[in-house]
């Protein structure tokens, strides 16, 4: 079975990538590899919104030769948006191959204070696992105690557990079995 790839766009603290890879390995029991960083996606910068277009990054990401990996998660520091939303924590196409995760809004708490390192790493791992769920064709889950439940903000993200509900776990393992 091909492993899950984890890669950064530009320079990212290696600890973040390791934490994400460890969570994927731990929860999905599937080999995970961190590979060499990709270039920073300056092409996706929107000067009107002062943010990076998640759709454009995803499109470019999907065109890269990543056939050695079953799925790939790209991590970057930039603030991401999609045209209809002010920001997104991450973006993935349903059943697609690549997903992107932004760390930009995970660093601070809702009250503006800086998040502790363990909390920041937990948030990053949660968003990565959530986007990976979409890559395995999981949709948002109604169960508030499931990682696939939609989180509209950092407060919601913090209340989500770092694991999937029983049903999403079954669907996820169905998806893994197809690899």
């Amino acid at each position: 079975m091909k492993p899950i790839g984890v890669v950064s766009f530009g320079e990212i603290d290696g600890m973040v990538l390791k934490a994400i890879a460890a969570h994927i390995l731990g929860y999905l029991r599937i080999d995970t590899e961190i590979f060499s960083p990709l270039g920073y996606p300056g092409y996706a910068y929107d000067p009107r919104r002062l943010q990076y277009d998640a759709g454009a990054i995803l499109k470019a990401f999907e065109s890269l030769p990543v056939q050695n990996y079953a799925k790939v998660i790209g991590i970057l520091d930039a603030d991401l948006f999609v045209p209809i939303l002010t920001y997104v924590f991450g973006e993935a196409r349903q059943g697609g191959k690549c997903a992107v995760v932004s760390l930009h809004r995970l660093k601070n708490n809702p009250d503006g204070s800086k998040a502790s390192a363990p909390l920041f790493l937990e948030r990053a791992a949660k968003v990565a696992l959530h986007e990976l769920g979409h890559l395995f064709n999981l949709t948002h889950c109604e169960d508030e105690r499931c990682l696939m439940h939609f989180s509209g903000g950092i407060r919601d993200l913090d209340t989500l557990p770092p694991y999937f509900c029983r049903y999403c776990s079954v669907y996820l393992h169905d998806g893994l079995a197809l690899l």
């Binding site: 919104r49 759709g55 948006f81 999609v82 045209p83 209809i84 939303l85 002010t86 920001y87 997104v88 196409r93 349903q94 979409h134 949709t139 948002h140 109604e142 939609f150 509209g152 903000g153 919601d156």
Partner: protein, 448 residues
């Protein structure tokens, strides 16, 4: 969230359409897109949608115009307006014209969730309103089932057990035994109690009407289908569907219902798209369905689908112990309804009521008490107040001539029907005009 709703995004910008499409697909919704108002109306005509996100600024037909047309032709479709900063006035105008809400582009992810929550609540209210409106004329008095007899106690404990499962239930019993009340009790004690209970009498509707009532239809599916309409199988969503007189359904309808029970999916008349349905089926019949299977009138596979659990309701004559309790209940009920101070039943009257055979079961008993209470002039109902229950005195003809025999027979039938000409004509198999002529010819007179 209700994943059964269908959404259409109407925006001339492909990137916005794609963004919405992607977002809602991840939420598990069925989503369509349209690049213009004209395309949106075409798609609405074809498929019908529950919710539209409409951009205000579009070339050709703008969002406000489209909103007007949608509200005119598809009043139940919910419209959310998408607008940019700086065009709040137009958004306010849209709200006045019937938009459910508006979103300012770009919006925070949680705003979209809040709008969806609001819209789904609104949709639920619309569905409930339609359901209640449609059912208002059919709502009869819902009372608890009354009975202390052993037979009824067994049924009560069976209802408790059956309510916990989601299996199909078949209620068998003579007419007037309270089959619908039992179905309502099963529903009320089940996990579906918060969802609708819809009762349909299959015997009262012609096949084509039953089909459109159950499955719904798209606009233009048949003459007179001017608007798309949801069927009861969709409206009942999450609740219980009670099909009374299931034995009267045609073999074609049995096949259609069997498919729905197996696949939990339906298609509206004139439409091809599959719609998920979720309901518990309770059926009732006064016929012996196994006998109907032997005769070829009822499908065996359908029978096994609907009678996972059977509740046999005894006739009133088989639980006469319950009569005093029922009498007391109906006297109280009708004295309250008619504001007549009737609160007792004499011993003789009660004995008569307990001796009577009650072919029409509890319904007949209820009607008898209602009639007695309405006509009674005293506080206590006497045996005489129930004289209509005694078998009429049957006259025999004085001579054996055909004319005398006919005259006596007509007179007996008229008395039996309390001189209701329509009913008597029906029994005698003549039309009303002929019966009037016969009454005149034989000089018959209604007894005072």
């Amino acid at each position: 969230m209700d994943k059964k709703i269908t959404i259409m995004i109407v925006d001339d910008e492909p990137i916005v359409r794609e963004s919405f499409l992607h977002w809602f697909e991840r939420l598990g919704y069925r989503v369509e897109t349209a690049a213009s108002g004209i395309e949106a109306l075409e798609k609405l005509k074809q498929f019908g949608f529950d919710l539209l996100f409409v951009d205000i600024k579009m070339p050709g037909m703008n969002g406000i115009e489209l909103l007007g047309k949608v509200k005119e032709e598809y009043p139940d479709t919910i419209v959310v307006i998408i607008t940019a900063y700086g065009s709040i006035d137009t958004a306010v105008e849209a709200m006045k014209k019937g938009a459910a809400d508006y979103l300012l582009k770009p919006f925070k992810p949680e705003q979209l969730s809040l709008v969806m929550e609001k819209v789904l609540n609104q949709k639920k209210l619309i569905t409930e309103y339609q359901y209640l409106k449609g059912r208002l004329d059919k709502i009869s008095r819902f009372e608890n089932i009354i009975g202390q007899s052993k037979a009824m106690q067994t049924i009560f404990s069976l209802i408790q057990e059956v309510a916990q499962s989601d299996s199909s239930v078949l209620i068998v019993g003579e007419t007037g035994t309270g089959k619908e009340l039992i179905a309502k009790a099963v529903h009320a004690k089940s996990r579906r109690a918060q969802h609708p209970f819809i009762a349909i009498n299959c015997g009262a509707l012609p096949d084509s009407l039953l089909e459109s009532e159950l499955f719904g239809y798209q606009k233009g599916a048949f003459t007179g289908a001017t608007h798309p309409r949801k069927g009861f199988l969709e409206i009942v969503s999450g609740g219980t569907l009670f099909l009374d007189e299931i034995g009267e359904t045609s073999p074609k309808m049995q096949v259609d219902l069997l498919r729905v029970l197996q696949e939990k999916k339906i298609t509206r008349l004139g439409d091809r798209s599959l719609i998920d349905v979720d309901f518990r089926l309770i059926s009732a019949t006064r016929r012996d369905l196994e006998e109907e299977i032997q005769k070829g009138n009822f499908r065996e596979d359908f029978f096994y689908r609907i009678h996972v659990i059977t509740i046999a309701v005894p006739g009133l004559r088989d639980r006469k112990d319950d009569i005093p309790l029922l009498v007391e209940h109906f006297v109280e009920k009708y004295s309250h309804e008619t504001t007549k101070k009737v609160d007792q039943v004499s011993r003789d009257a009660m004995a008569l009521l307990q001796d009577y055979d009650w072919p029409g079961n509890v319904r007949e008993l209820e009607n008898a008490i209602e009639r007695a209470v309405v006509l009674s002039k005293a506080r206590t109902l006497q045996k005489e107040d129930f004289s209509f229950l005694c078998s009429p005195v049957v006259r025999t003809a004085g001579s054996r001539s055909l004319r005398d025999m006919e005259k006596t027979h007509i007179e007996n039938v008229l008395d039996e029907c309390d001189w209701n000409i329509t009913r008597a004509a029906g029994i005698l198999k003549v039309n009303r005009v002929s019966l009037h002529k016969m009454i005149k010819r034989y000089g018959l007179q209604r007894p005072l």
